[in-house]
Symmetry: C2
Subunit: 407 residues, 2 copies
């Protein structure tokens, strides 16, 4: 497997377009389209929030029931959540506009939205946007990058990646883009993610691979603990790589799983590090825990704690906050087993040793925590399970961004 240039247009047969439709933002692109020249198998994972936005309901049904999909239309600015029947009608209107412009059936068109909750989408602007994008579809890297930029809200950088690997002697490509920032928390968070691949694979295996990889990637990031109404991760596989279709969990499936993990971890870490107002990527690695679930729970609790996040922002070696977060996470453990370390490109320092604080070099600790990527490494010494979670620091700018997001 190797990382290659590009994102959603890297795999064979995938094209993208984007446009400034003035949905809510002015003077920037706010709609994107992904189109596959061939029908695709689709899989997805969606928000666990009881309040699901209209596009989530729309996509969930299509992913489960539609024989194939071919298009995704995304808008930023308005989330189309808490919008009642009118919101669902907006999804339908979008798919109808796609049908008119591209001759793709209504139930082959997925939709996604991100932005303010509780506002209705301007349907005519959406339809105009679809029409404009349909005429500009392009398989260039630039078209993919422009789409990745159009779906951003409070993101400061666009997120895209592509890899290639071999399956059944053929070169297969997998690309993706995502947007994140605020409201990011397991399970499936205000994140939209779109993956495109030319692999030939059975639909059930595609879903199984996605669901499995999400557990250790997108579901291990948190920005603020809020699980949004709109979280959506979609993958489309059009089979144009012409590999022998994957129908069992053999070597080809494993190669695909590895590539999928690489792509999802890359996008997840980018989202965590680009949390609203964030100045650094905050990683918690828990090893030798009693169970995988405990390791996940403990590592997520560390990166989710406001107090931990504020300490990381201030480079304050206040390690008690990490132990405290582990303590209320719900996982059982004995603090007298725990060892805690700070790690970054600036060094490694133990601060807690099986129940007892260590007198450490404060200057070195501040230097380690001052790096742009900081890891809290926790050895539980109670088992052999491990997990890693990612988040970001809590800053003045987080508050600023969210105190007046709508204006």
């Amino acid at each position: 497997m190797k990382q290659i240039e590009g994102g959603i247009t890297a795999a064979k047969g995938f094209k993208a377009a984007s446009v400034a439709a003035a949905i809510k933002y002015q003077n920037r692109k706010d709609m994107a389209m992904i189109y596959s020249t061939a029908p695709c198998k689709a899989a997805g994972t969606f928000t666990t929030n009881v309040v699901k936005a209209a596009p989530v309901l729309w996509d969930k049904k299509l992913v489960e029931t539609a024989p194939f999909v071919q298009v995704v239309v995304v808008n930023s600015g308005i989330a189309n959540a808490c919008t009642g029947k009118q919101g669902f009608d907006a999804c339908k209107a979008t798919a109808k506009a796609v049908k008119e412009a591209l001759d793709v059936s209504v139930d082959a068109c997925l939709v996604a939205s991100t932005g303010v909750i509780g506002m209705q989408l301007p349907v005519e602007k959406l339809a105009n946007g679809v029409k404009a994008m349909a005429s500009q579809l392009d398989d260039s890297t630039e078209a993919g990058t422009a789409a990745a930029k159009a779906i951003m809200t409070t993101d400061t950088i666009h997120k895209e990646i592509a890899v290639s690997f071999t399956a059944g002697g053929k070169t297969v490509t997998l690309g993706g883009m995502s947007k994140g920032s605020g409201m990011i928390h397991p399970n499936m968070c205000t994140m939209l993610g779109f993956l495109t691949t030319d692999i030939a694979i059975e639909k059930s295996l595609l879903q199984e691979a996605l669901s499995r990889v999400v557990q250790d990637t997108f579901n291990m990031i948190t920005v603020d603990g809020d699980t949004s109404t709109n979280d959506t991760l979609l993958i489309m596989a059009n089979g144009l790589a012409e590999n022998e279709p994957i129908t069992t969990k053999g070597e080809d499936y494993q190669n695909f799983l590895d590539a999928l993990f690489y792509v999802c971890e890359f996008l997840a870490k980018k989202m965590a590090g680009d949390g609203e107002g964030a100045t650094k990527l905050f990683e918690a690695k828990v090893v030798n825990a009693r169970s995988k679930e405990d390791a996940r729970t403990l590592s997520r609790a560390i990166v989710a704690s406001n107090l931990s996040k504020a300490a990381i922002y201030g480079c304050d070696a206040n390690f008690g906050r990490f132990l405290c977060a582990m303590g209320y996470s719900g996982a059982e453990f004995d603090q007298n087993d725990v060892e805690l370390f700070f790690e970054s490109s600036e060094g490694r320092l133990q601060v807690f040793d099986k129940g007892t604080p260590i007198v450490f070099d404060e200057e070195l600790a501040a230097k380690i925590l001052g790096a742009s990527e900081v890891t809290i490494y926790v050895d539980m010494n109670e088992g052999d399970a491990q997990a890693t979670a990612w988040g970001c620091d809590l800053t003045y700018d987080y508050v600023k961004i969210n105190a007046d997001y709508r204006s």
Copy 2:
């Protein structure tokens, strides 16, 4: 029942003292003592955090097993959490100093600490503090207030209250003090609370009353979702009111329960409104929910959400965030049943009506949210259970306080 002047020294036989012991803070009082001239029945509720500070372990055991207690010693500055055997020894040394100074047995002395985790207490300074306080015990209102100030950390105001009521024809008094601020979250949060009463009551009923009242008061507040290692609420009852001892759940018990609720709700709201960096008290009232547990879960989720809290700070009528928080709370409901209102001294405004957003007067909304106490009122229209939760807004100052708490 009526509210009266004072706090922990209001009830008969209770004295207090406080001192500047230079535990960690300089130039301010940082130790407090509560003493009862008569032996007390004691009850308590403690943090649910797996990582329990040494004083929590010490008190839990005494509350469960000691025949009576007579003294509480509290320090601020250092939490004595994650401190191993040395930390537990510090509790013992404190109780021994009390025994020497006041001739109270070691297992009649409760201790409590709040402050930085992972630092050891300076035992000699503690012992000196105990000695100094033992010689200054005083039943004046001023002594109680000074104690309430000595236990503060990042609190901006001290919290105390007292009420009197009648039981068995006798006047009974109940007083209390608490400290809160950061790390406040159900269940039992970085809060220390101390209640003193001269009522005569059976120990098991005292514990039952406290555990019941905590559910709807202290456990319904949140500042940042972090449940601390040190949370402790203690009540001591010395029987000096000379009422017929309460042994059944009759009228006297009910009067006591009402007084306890009033005192605990008062202290809980004060703590929520004085959360770190807070500029306002943020209340969520959920009515007509399917069950009491759902009502609690929903209301707590609203006040716990960083995004909700930031919106409240910015007076941003972004009601979707409240619905979003309800959606990921874990409670089941149908958004098409829900009505949502903003309320404060400035007015009342409906913003969401059974699945559909309402076009509302933004100026009025901002005015309502601009008050110093703001309520999100949610009618679930699905049952008859209700609950209220309290929190505060998320501000720049929260980040500032917690980015460098230790220095």
